[in-house]
Amino acid sequence: MPAIRRLILRLHARHVWHAYLFVAPIIILFGAFRVAPSVQTLLYSVYRVELLRGRFTFIGLENFRELLVDRAFQQAAWNTLVYVLVIVPVSAALGLLLAVLFDTRFPLRELFKALYFAPMVTSTVAAAVVWWWLYNPQFGLFNVLLRLVGLPIQPWLMSSRTALLSILLFSVWKGIGYNMVVYLAGLQAIPESFVEAARIDGAGGFQRFWRITLPLLAPTTAFLLIYNSIQAFQVFDQVFVLTSGGPAGSTNVIVLDLYRQAFERYNFGYAAAEAMFLFLLTLGVTVLQYVYSKRFEVSY
């Protein structure tokens, strides 16, 4: 026995050693280049940071207190919240609608699917540049089309009334293919038998959808809502390219504001506090959605 026991122990020990070895590269790399800077930034949030002079003064929650009364940040937080609240359900709903349509059979279906998905593969920056041109009030295609049909032209990115909406429109366009494709996969994973059973029982199309399909899609919906929320909270590229947060701060979002605070005002402590705020906000919303979604899980 002792020989086998020693063998087992040795095998076991070797695997643990292997385990650490195999995860070491990732842990080291993440540790050095992702976690360490994050922790540093976190620390910055309770200091007044004067990077060039190397002066760090501990100020406790002062940065956070300033955050709460800062008009610009309040606006950024509000805009970000509005952005998330609009884009997440709209993208999901449109994605679902399209997925339902694509779940039927019609000619050239694969081609159309590819067309809806195409915006996803381009870089946000390049696509935003194209939309910037489309939004030009004098010569951009959108206003040209409006003029063609006799509707009043819009200022789009030039007015604080319409700028955020313009960015939302871009983001919806960019992400709808993705939502559609994920929902489609979810739809196709539902066994035919369930829907058939409902039809045999006399349930109409809409009832079938509402009572059977939609609940069975709950995991997909949950996933999309959570993932879309995280992405939406971190929106940056398109705002940076299209409006830089203007006009009049109407498209200022948290990540853009913290980028500005860090790199134009050199207020690293303050920017770090904003980052902390964002992180907690994202975490909170994600946890809420996750917990809430568990209630709707239907296993089959």
Binding site: L21, P25, E50, L51, L52, R53, R71, A72, N136, P137, Q138, G150, P152, I153, P155, L157, M158, S159, S160, R161, F240, T243, S244, G246, P247, A248, G249, S250, Y259, A262, F263, E264, R265, Y266
Partner: protein, 429 residues
Amino acid sequence: MQRRTVLKLALTAPLLASRRAWSQSKAITLWYPAGDITAGAAHFSDKSFFAPYEAKTGVKVEAVGLDYDTMQQKIFAAAAAKNVGDILFVDGSWVPGFLKEDMLDAVPDARSKAWLDAVSPEIRTLSDYGKGRMWGYPQYGIDIYGLTWNKDHFKEAGLDPEKPPRTWDEFRDYAKKLTKRDAQGNITRVGYAIRHVGHPHGIVHKHFWALYGAGASLVDDPLALRGGKANFNNDGGRAAVKLVLDMLDVDKSTSLNFPDPRAALLKGLASMQISETVSIHERAPKEAPELKWGLSATPVRKAGDKPITLLGSWMYAVPKMAKNREAAWQLLEWINTPEQDFEMCKKYAATPRYKVNWERDPFKSNAYDQALKQIYPYGKPLPVNLGLNGVMDAVGGAIQKTWHHEAKLEEALAEAERAANKAIADAAK
């Protein structure tokens, strides 16, 4: 396991080698904004620009074009990491921010005295940060903000193309006459194009003439690095912002639907605009060769007032943590000798800085240069306060909010005053 480690090391090693040449002592870097941000940077991409210097001293000069949007951030992060360009060609309004972080090397006293004595008054104003202190050299062909207008539009509207509006009342009147609409009533051409989107600093730059012209100012003491109070939440400030607000709402002679004023003028979408004159001077021949444009000082609030306009400049500065400071200052000396000033201004059609060069041709007989010379005396630079960034953000934001009808004029200015005073106080610590 060992094989794998070796493999990994072999793959990573080449990556660790830097892509840039490591020879530091024989090369200096100059950072400037790439693209059409400022005409004063146009020559850095010219390979032959530094050739004479390189030949004379054997020191290579590498001009690195940075993206303007992220330039401040790059400079700062690089300085923090002690790996920044040796010479920085930066927007003059960034200098107080850099001074606040103690980032710049001052020009040696002997040199600054010689410089200040030899250059024309407007250059002296731009260079002197108080008591003869210089933190860098202004570019040649400095920016002055003047009124530019489309002469053909004036003729079309029945106005004398050689006579620009002199007072705010005339200005509003002209703008009304010059505005054009289509059948639906949409404005197709504005009488006066305003800068209302983009960075708040740009908005302040382009409305400086009205603010100061009405008796307000950004900070009460323009030469104090620390302390001072905001000085724009008063009758003058309100009148200045209201001027355009009335043009938007009452006269309907301008609009928020138009992009950058310079582009608007060049594309024929606007009849008048106020911005850096050098932009139009440089770009019109390429972008609008048919354009006949006029240049003059900015309108005054009431007859008899003196015009005030913004004197701006990009600056050559040397950061304290540059690796090759002596070499950098040597290069700057070379760029800023009277002979170089003459040669380069002649080559790039810019106004010179030395008094002696103004006496020489082509500058003496060039109509554009002489027109600028008439406007220069009215120029005022931005205050040097360390909190300038915050002040300009506040004022620009207030103007933007008011014109976009996001806030009432009085509230916006009051709020901005609070924010500006806070920025000044914070910076003074």
